[in-house]
Amino acid sequence: MFRAVLYTQWKSSRPVLLLAMLVAGYIPVQTLRSMPYKSADTYHIPSLYYGITTASTYYQLLALATAAVVAIASWQADAARQHVYALSLPLPRWRFVLLRFGAGAALLGTVAAAVGLFGGVAAALAPLPPMLHAYPVGLAIRFWLGALVPFALIFALLASNPRIVRILVTAGVTLVAVDMMLAAVGVIESPVIMTWMAEAIYASNGPLAAFLSKWMLVDV
């Protein structure tokens, strides 16, 4: 069953996944190629650090984008037919949802594997300065776990009852709009809800905390 579900998701999201893998290959190659040194003995630390941290941002953006697309693709085929086929299958709904989630997580794993593979190859080909090491496997795991969080959030939202999602989104947008209006007319000093949301999301134990740290291919 899992193979069958995985295959349908692979077929519907294949172009995006292949593109994500290509980008995963391009990021380390481009980063290490543009380093202002010719060999491991001649390097410029600030430029090297800048290049690697920029690549970290690219990895994070790639993880977010891939997670969003894979989550949407997980339900797209079912949603297009009002979930009739899925609901007619002889298995409990929770189990089907779990199969879809597992397949999405596995597909994110292929992009994470590409991140690790291409990162490892690029680092092996680039002359790294002494004391610096490449961590392609660590980066791949971080990429996969990091991508799983937004994937799970979007997946859950799309798996929910559309009416509940509409109510939640409408309530959220209304609250934020009122908050911003109150701040704009000076009733409150700054948008309270927006600040609270940002703090909750990016707190060290928040759902997107992984995106606050650097995703370094090369580190000490």
Binding site: M1, R3, A4, Y7, T8, K11, S12, A77, A80, R81, Q82, V84, Y85, L87, S88, L89, P90, L91, P92
Partner: protein, 299 residues
């Protein structure tokens, strides 16, 4: 006689405009049950309730001995379902769709699937999204039959198909049912088509089941009488008078249910003359029932 499907006092309101009201219905095991009704009468909604796709607000639904929706997965493993609209994954090919479906059914009969694929002239490499309506209908029937179901639930399976495809689909269905003795619930608004294959009939209108009986009773029991000189008020009749329509002069047409030839004496006893007893085909009977139900008459 046991029932493959049993609904008792089921109520469901999916929207403000439409509701299923106090629906009690029974599909006997082994029957080919024609589920008739005009578009929007609630046939598809009832089918979705039967399959556990939607949850009733009230009442009891039992399918193949399983309570629905709690036992829906166990029941669905023994049901072949062909929905009203194509529900297949567009990105897959015919072969991939068959493999995908097989993964969920331990009862999948690969040989039957392959035979049906050849019989329906479907190519494994054809993309589902490029299938014509007829090809998609045939693929859905193939998937339903290859799981060797004890119960087939077909929602307008031939709607919009050309006569050749319709014949192919129906003959595959009849061949399967005759060899497996499966129960079939087939919904349609194409009344003449039901007449050929069904042995039970249920008529749905505006969210309620207005009649349910063996096809023979339905077909032979509803007649149109041409009567003249009948009094305006009639005493209780030995048949069900569905409706009275004045035609010319003192002549009237009566729609009746449960008519027997010896009841002509009762008509004469009312001072009326029975001029003609007209046999109705299924479609005319269906229309007679619907118009009676809509005018609030006794069914």
């Amino acid at each position: 006689m046991s029932n493959a499907i049993s609904l008792k006092h089921v109520a469901y309101r999916p929207s403000k405009e439409f509701a299923i009201r106090d629906l009690t219905m029974a599909v006997p095991t082994g029957a080919i049950y024609g589920f008739l009704g005009p578009n929007g009468s609630g046939k598809t909604t009832t089918i979705k309730l039967i399959l556990g796709m939607q949850e009733a607000d009230d009442g009891l639904i039992e399918v193949l001995g399983h309570q629905i929706p709690q036992g829906a997965p166990q029941a669905l493993a023994r049901i072949g379902y062909v929905p009203e609209k194509a529900h297949l994954y567009a990105s897959l090919t015919v072969g991939e769709m068959m493999d995908h479906h097989r993964a969920f059914y331990g009862t999948w009969d690969a040989a039957r699937a392959e035979n049906l694929r050849r019989q329906f002239a479907l190519r494994t490499e054809q993309k589902v999204e490029r299938l014509s309506k007829g090809e998609a209908g045939k693929l859905m029937m193939l998937l339903a039959l290859a799981t060797q179901p004890e119960l087939l639930v077909l929602d307008e399976p031939t709607d919009g198909l050309d006569p050749v495809v319709r014949r192919d689909v129906l003959s595959a269905l009849v061949e399967y049912v005759s060899t497996r003795n499966a129960t079939v619930l087939v919904s349609s608004h194409l009344v003449h088509e039901q007449e050929r294959v069904c042995d039970w009939v249920g008529v749905m209108d505006d969210g309620a089941l207005i009649a349910e009986m063996p096809m023979n009773t339905f077909r032979s029991g509803i007649k149109r009488l041409r009567v003249s000189g009948a009094p305006p008020v009639l005493p209780a009749a030995p048949f069900t008078l569905l409706g009275r329509t004045a035609t010319a002069g003192t002549e009237e047409e009566w729609g009746v249910r449960g008519w027997q030839p010896d009841m002509a004496a009762w008509v004469t006893a009312q001072g009326a003359t029975l001029r003609e007893v007209i046999d109705l085909d299924l479609e005319e009977s269906f229309v007679e029932l619907l118009s009676t139900a809509r005018s609030g008459g006794t069914l």
